[in-house]
Symmetry: D2
Subunit: 341 residues, 4 copies
């Protein structure tokens, strides 16, 4: 059996595990105040060219989104997001649990359109009854999106400009940020992200760590009392050094980028091979997630040897499916997969 279900089906990249083993018996203080966490924060600041940035480690994506959104919004505000956004669909109402509404915008392959963001905000305030409505208090985007697409630098600049003209923060969910940075055609850097976003997170769970997400606020004053909220949300790890050690490893010798580049390369090999064999792409994606429309006969045959996800329900004749690569995907696995079609 070969596996393309998702990018969180194994443990951690071997280098990460190696470092966790090596440091296992050391004594350090808890809650992220240890030297490993300090060093990891410093490496991330450097990678982001954001020397003053607040960097706080959390554990998982839903938790990170819920905590950051709770920290950024005032009580009467909601968060703008694509209707396909993870926070709107797959987080069991974690945003609402903290009292905030998700204000949905149309999804364009997983992305929001800058002009629709601006139209929402201006229409909102032009309505006489707006104090009776939930105010758009921030914009949430994912990069890459849930459908594998990426925002271009120009789109990010446009969204950032709109947010800042309207005095709302821009928050970028980077659960798979590495794969975006290393995507085919990507024209933005971590420093661009840090320059354009008020808060973002660098996903570890899906890019080589056992777990862990690094929240970055290039201007810390825009995320006040965040540590307290992290604790309140139950998101503070006692042995915080575990995140420090992992991110230190990932941000040493560009391991984070190398992991992502490898996975994207394998994903594009799969895409190209599938397309060459006449299989239809469901949503174009330059990242480590690839979506195809498979004839059911082919799909059923492949399932004998390959594990992958249905994306939506099985159709009458064909079904949309997802293949995902990661650091653990070997060229041999890809070869094998391609041979099957």
């Amino acid at each position: 059996m070969i596996y393309f279900d998702s990018d969180y089906m194994e443990g951690a990249h071997p280098e990460v595990m190696h470092r966790l083993m090596k440091t296992n018996l050391e004594h350090t203080v808890g809650y992220g105040e240890d030297p490993y966490s300090a060093h990891a924060r410093q490496l991330i600041r450097e990678a982001c060219q954001a020397p003053e940035a607040l960097v706080q480690f959390l554990i998982g994506g839903t938790q990170t989104n819920a905590t950051v959104i709770d920290a950024l919004l005032l009580r009467h505000q909601g968060v703008l997001a694509a209707e396909t956004a993870h926070i709107n669909v797959h987080e069991s109402g974690a945003v609402e649990h903290s009292g905030h509404k998700v204000l949905t915008l149309p999804s364009h392959g997983g992305k929001v359109a800058p002009d629709e963001v601006e139209l929402y905000i201006t229409t909102f305030y032009s309505d006489d009854t707006y104090p009776h409505m939930v105010a758009p208090g921030m914009l949430y985007i994912t990069q890459p999106t849930e459908l594998g697409s990426i925002y271009s630098l120009a789109e990010l600049e446009s969204l950032s400009d709109i947010c800042h003209r309207h005095h709302i923060p821009l928050y970028l969910d980077g659960a798979r940020l590495g794969y975006g940075l290393m995507a085919e055609g990507a024209d933005f850097t971590l420093a661009d992200i840090a320059r354009l976003c008020d808060v973002f997170y660098i996903g570890g769970t899906k890019v080589g760590a056992l777990f862990g997400e690094a929240v970055v606020a290039p201007h810390p004053e825009r995320l006040p009392y965040f540590f307290e909220l992290v604790k309140q949300h139950g998101a503070l790890l006692a042995k915080g050094r575990l995140q420090g050690i992992q991110f230190e490893t990932l941000f040493t010798d560009s391991l984070y980028q190398r992991i992502a580049r490898h996975a994207v390369e394998q994903a594009l090999r799969i895409r190209d091979a599938f397309v060459a064999r006449g299989i239809r792409v469901a949503f174009p994606s330059p990242t480590n997630q690839q979506f195809f429309v498979l004839p059911n006969t082919l799909m059923d045959r492949m399932r004998q040897e390959v594990s992958f996800e249905n994306w939506g329900p099985r159709g009458a004749d064909e079904t949309t499916v997802r293949f995902v690569t990661s650091w653990a995907t070997t060229p041999e696995d890809v070869e094998h997969l391609i041979d099957l079609i």
Copy 2:
């Protein structure tokens, strides 16, 4: 330097790390539906003699308390707890974040008194204005308590009886449960806990794991929709097998108990040596946390070579301090410590 600050200052017990390494490259499904988690749940059910129990893994203590309490209470209810309870003092308002009040009872060395629990409940309902007040909807206890003390089996039976006569669940926070089970004079077993409590958790973070807490509901119908709430609270780990592998290891060959017994033995050696040298015990504790009143001169001298916590502010002449042992505490460390006094 030798370390007695707390029981979460190192990584994981070497056997746990060994198993994480060994399984690192395997593919499994996420969110705790993997075979390791299934096996760990089974081992825990057996250890608890609770064959039908729901066992759900979470990550840390504050998160676990907030999620379980949110799951057990109706919206108009609060949670009864000692005023020294972790949920009342050191969780940044996580219980209140989900909309519930902590209803405090006097602390007796960290414990609640059964008669005071019952008095609270009966007094509450005898007040005409009780619908204007927060109803006591569950009882929270810690075992061992934040002050190292333990409830006897008779006390647990009494609390369980009171709760059930008044139709409210009993929840036991077992962040350090192992140290309670192996405490000097402990007369209760995991099976007793499972028999007497509606929900409890077996703490991993402080007893040999990197992180992880196992919530156990011997009668699953008393904790409905818990998985959904775990997700909503951001407490669901993508790579859920990490908890499964750790708890499988801890509950194989009684590693959990062996870790705890070792730590308690070292703690009692410290206590006995300190007492023999005339140092006053601050709160009697049969577990891995020991509290002493140290003359400041001695304390300052010890600080040159030993790391430990002040418990409360420095006094004029003497200060209450805490020494904690764990699997990582060596007999040599203890020897060294004793030599210093």
Copy 3:
């Protein structure tokens, strides 16, 4: 100037005021435990043919919706509603404030379609990831809707049947329920509403009272601890008799229905006169709210003498507007209005 802005622009129906004056100096207990409230509850039970019903008075609509929804939902659930629903658009996130998501369905003239309700629920549970999503825990409808339309008895029966087959409660927001009962072509009674809904409220604020909404739960066990939640939501009036006296008056000699019938008659006169003069109806409505598309020139001229609301922004040539009638609308006002076009 004549006024058709809304149905809450005056005080109360004179008979209501008369009763408030007459009883003003009497002493009664607070919080709705007075004899007037008891009698009003009894009259409402009789009108609803629901002899066991819990009847609880609240103050306003947003508050009532937020409190009832909070009472009916479990923590992981959301409320299904039309995207145009008041709770989704005009309540400043009150539902989310209590931690719940509004799950939107397409609006058909303000109404939800029964088949789309059922499809939502069945699709939800057919998705493997549903525990990561917000579960549909109840259905919210308005009768009449925000656009003046009404559900037929057959539609209500269908919605009730779907809800009960899927074990979720049906809640009906009756802020303007009187106008629905007295609507042109209405084929349902209060007793039908009580038979088909798990909870509903009879709106007072917009149908002759100073303020006040009567929540009715024909089977009280489906709305447990509601009084406590009313208090927790700040919705309990100290001088609860004020609601009792008002609803007693409204439900004596069918004043509630008479008020509504009068308003609907005046609204339909307006509609018929407008249509006869070639003015286009924006959304068909058999109730006291009428929506037209007015040429801007006519609209501007009318504004000299008539007060009414734009419904949405002013268009280039024409604008959608709303005219609302109430107990305070006189035939002379309507005459005057018709003369203007």
Copy 4:
């Protein structure tokens, strides 16, 4: 039967009712944007010598406390209050419902002690683990307190000074503020309250109105987006003019003060007569609430003709009871009461 149960057992002061009747048929816009509300706000600003004050009308006390506290606190903060405070005891967890903890201080006859407030704050920040604890984010006091006592001007100045030195707002619950202003020995004015508090409310429900509380923020920037939060909390009245008309009446010709002075005078007559007859005062009160310790035999005899409240449970031989006066208390009622003892 004569009534001394509470100050909300009748309707409104006749002058208030008269004005409500007189304006009943007028058309005005809703939600407090009408001229009556505007005028009432202006009168209150003048009475408070706070020309820039935000004045927002709400409906009841619990609602007002919950909304103001939610508006003033950041998410990680709690509210300091006496353990006897209404928000801590009698509001069904409304503060916690919005996610905040009540941090209790000892009660001294219902009051907090300035030095204990300061000690709490300074101790909090001197604890290394304070980010794991709920930060004191505001101080809540009642004037007069739940036990009828009042803070002196010096005490208010001291509390205000402490709050402002520590950068937390001071909020005063004035559910019965009139009775405080007119209390025996009161040395403060409304202008003092406005000068010393960041937010306070002037209670209407218990001082002559049908319902209604006027929230005053002398510096509106300290209570941003309050209108939106009022709506979110379900506290916005559609027919907002009802509060405007009532407060306009109460603040015309000092009706508010006259009502309060009358009630206090009657209360003190009762107190003096009781004391003269050897009955023990339970808590000294210079306001309209009087607390006595009555022998049970006397209490039982009085109950034949007088309605009043037990304050706490019936004792073996004697019981603490409360007598409350209001605008509706007649000198004849008081005469009659005094004759009975």
